[in-house]
């Protein structure tokens, strides 16, 4: 019986993260950490994961130069890390697949997952189909409506999609319901959290399985260009994409930026910019920067992007920000939509709305004198076509 965590549960000088979980989930979390550590030390697990990432996911993903967009924006060079080209179309598969393999090693027969934009849900459903595990995905009803193609994809992969009607019907409520479901079925089910948040060990687990993005990107940049870029930039919802790209660049002399959803206004409830508007708090098992009211109730959020409207920034990314390792900026709905259109027109690549928030920051980086940028294109935009059609009037 594992009775204590052995990996660090806290991040940064302010001790973010932790394990604020109901007692029912404590032993499952302790067991998960032990299984994770054992897997990392097992060459068999590493070999299986590597093989699946190559032959099922399609890694390594390309680092694509975007010379026409760079010239248009006044940058010398722009490199796009193409997570949109992974199987299922976003970086989420890196973590979902790894955790599904881990769950099977633990003897679990069911996977529970939450999803916002649907990308993590699709990734989990695909990984489960691949490995022969049952899959149940909790998804807010608002997100089910705006990301309908992903709901259909999950169901085609054999997953059960459970609509969550509470609150705003978005990711926060989906996580609530997934945690409740896991507390009821923790003996036979593993919960694959899709972002670098939740109680320990989830933030560490997710970051570990996502840093393949930045490790590849860094090696590719060194191989394809004369050196490292001046800035590396990613969008940040919970933080799995942001950490995945940025962490491998932590030792390098360059700017690391994460872009949050600026939504449609600066007031609480109109955005999901946790750095400006958030205060330290505890939600879903971890202590981090959280959008909340004075009573400690989670605030509502708004973003055109279903993947960026989570009210908390993952604890490790928040710690890196507070300790000065990562800069946080915000991009509005309109800026993200315009940036998506520009990438389509200049490079023939349709980005997800989430990734478009990172793209939207490029003009201000150019204005600040940055010449070379590596940007994490976290996902493809097919799931967002109806939003693009209505908001961009095409």
């Amino acid at each position: 019986m594992n009775d204590a965590f052995t990996l660090p549960t806290r991040f940064g000088t302010q001790g973010l993260g932790g394990c604020y979980a109901p007692e029912t989930l404590m032993q499952p979390l302790l067991d998960l950490e032990a299984a994770f550590r054992a897997a990392l030390e097992d060459p068999g697990f590493q070999a299986e994961l590597k093989g699946e990432l190559r032959h099922f996911v399609g890694r390594p993903t390309p680092l694509t130069p975007a010379p026409r967009l760079a010239a248009k924006l006044g940058l010398k060079a722009l490199l796009l890390k193409r997570e949109d080209l992974t199987h299922t179309g976003a970086h989420k598969i890196n973590n979902a697949l790894a955790q599904a393999i881990l769950a099977r090693r633990m003897g679990k027969t069911e996977i529970i997952a939450e999803t916002g934009a649907g990308q993590h849900g699709v990734a989990a459903a695909a990984a489960c189909a691949r490995l022969g595990l049952r899959c149940t995905v909790y998804m807010g009803v608002t997100d089910m409506a705006r990301q309908a193609p992903n709901v259909a994809r999950m169901r085609l992969f054999g997953a059960t999609v459970v609509p969550v009607e509470a609150g705003q019907g978005t990711l926060k409520e989906a996580v609530n319901e997934a945690l409740r479901a896991w507390a009821g079925r923790c003996t036979e089910a593993h919960y694959i959290l899709g972002s670098a948040l939740g109680p320990h060990p989830f933030p560490t687990l997710v970051r570990t399985f996502q840093t393949v993005i930045g490790e590849e990107a860094r090696a590719q940049a060194l191989e394809q260009t004369s050196g490292l870029p001046e800035a590396v930039i990613a969008c940040a919802g919970g933080g799995s994409n942001g950490l995945g790209l940025l962490v491998p660049f932590l030792g390098d002399p360059l700017r690391r930026l994460a872009v949050e959803a600026g939504g449609h206004g600066p007031a609480l409830g109109e955005h999901a910019a946790r750095l400006d508007g958030g205060r330290m708090g505890v939600l879903h098992g971890c202590k981090t920067l959280l959008l909340q009211d004075e009573h400690g109730h989670t605030a509502e959020t708004a973003s055109v992007s279903a993947g960026l409207d989570y009210p908390a920034l993952g604890p490790e990314l928040a710690a890196l920000v507070l300790d000065g390792q990562v800069e946080v900026r915000r991009a509005s709905d309109d800026e993200a939509l315009a940036a998506a259109r520009l990438l389509c027109q200049m490079e023939g690549i349709l980005p997800a709305l989430e990734s478009s928030h990172a793209l939207a920051l490029l003009p201000s980086l150019a204005a600040e004198g940055v010449a070379t940028v590596l940007l994490g294109l976290s996902g493809r935009g097919d799931k967002d076509l109806s939003t693009y059609q209505s908001r961009l009037e095409i």
């Binding site: 029912t24 404590m26 945690l179 409740r180 507390a183 923790c186 205060r279 330290m280 505890v282 109730h297």
Partner: protein, 251 residues
């Protein structure tokens, strides 16, 4: 030691803060010794649909943590209260304001659903020193060695202390609060026997208990049954607290 026959749960602010003093005094008059009072939270991850809905109604009606505690100030016709809450509202209040608000109330202990022992040691120690111990929770997934450690970390202050400060909360089944389907109480019998082997303190059993038969089964096993979601649901549909509690007390 005589067995406390019933530990009821109410959600503060549902249906309103105004009715709360009346509820508490009626509970007291029925002989209820201790009562769990829920502090409504926006994201109650350990609660089922009934308590979720009650929390959201209470929040919508303005039942903030501060108002709730202020409404309890000076009340003496009440069972001992165990404040049943999630951590974040307490963190946002801050320790000192929280202690000032608690001081004139009948609150005698806190049950913080998402605060495992050791995560906020300074906060927990200060609360205990001020007379507000945290209730240890023992889930079906809690092994006996871990249970022993949790009980030692949140120790029994001894027979002179009130039930509210002494009991350990035994979670009857996996999942969230709420009556749901009838709970098979078979495993609970073995569980309580095992726990009795490591502790003599009072045990209360909650999650999924509602009908008089299961409540009596728990009593027969030497533990106090907790009645939460079923009580809240009845009060919501217009039942009198006297009726709902009276029907569940042993004759």
């Amino acid at each position: 030691m005589s067995l406390n026959p019933l530990l009821p749960f109410l959600m503060a602010g549902d249906p309103s803060l105004e009715v709360l003093p009346g509820y508490l005094s009626e509970a007291r008059a029925l002989g209820i010794e201790a009562l769990e009072l829920g502090l409504p939270h926006s994201d109650p991850i350990a609660d089922g649909p009934v308590l979720q809905a009650a929390a959201h109604r209470a929040i919508a009606r303005g039942a903030t943590p501060r108002r709730i505690l202020e409404s309890l100030a000076g009340i003496t016709a009440s069972p001992d209260l165990i404040l049943f809450t999630y951590l974040n509202p307490l963190l946002q209040l801050g320790l000192e304001p929280l202690l000032r608000l608690l001081e004139p109330t009948p609150v005698r202990a806190l049950l913080v659903v998402d605060l495992p022992e050791g995560e906020e040691p300074a906060f927990e120690t200060a609360l205990r020193a001020a007379g507000y111990p945290l209730v240890p929770l023992l889930a079906p997934t809690t092994g006996l060695a871990r249970a022993q450690r949790l009980l030692e970390a949140r120790p029994d202050p001894g027979p002179a202390a009130p039930f509210a400060q002494r009991f350990a909360y035994v979670v009857a089944r996996l999942g969230v609060t709420g009556a749901g389907q009838a709970t098979d109480l078979g495993p609970l019998t073995a569980r309580l026997r095992d726990l009795r082997g490591i502790t003599a303190r009072p045990l209360a059993v909650g999650f999924g208990l509602s009908d008089p038969v299961s409540l009596q089964t728990v009593r027969d096993l030497g533990a106090t049954p907790i009645i939460g979601s079923a009580l809240v649901a009845e009060l919501t549909s217009g039942s009198l607290i006297r009726t709902s509690l009276g029907a569940r007390l042993p004759r």
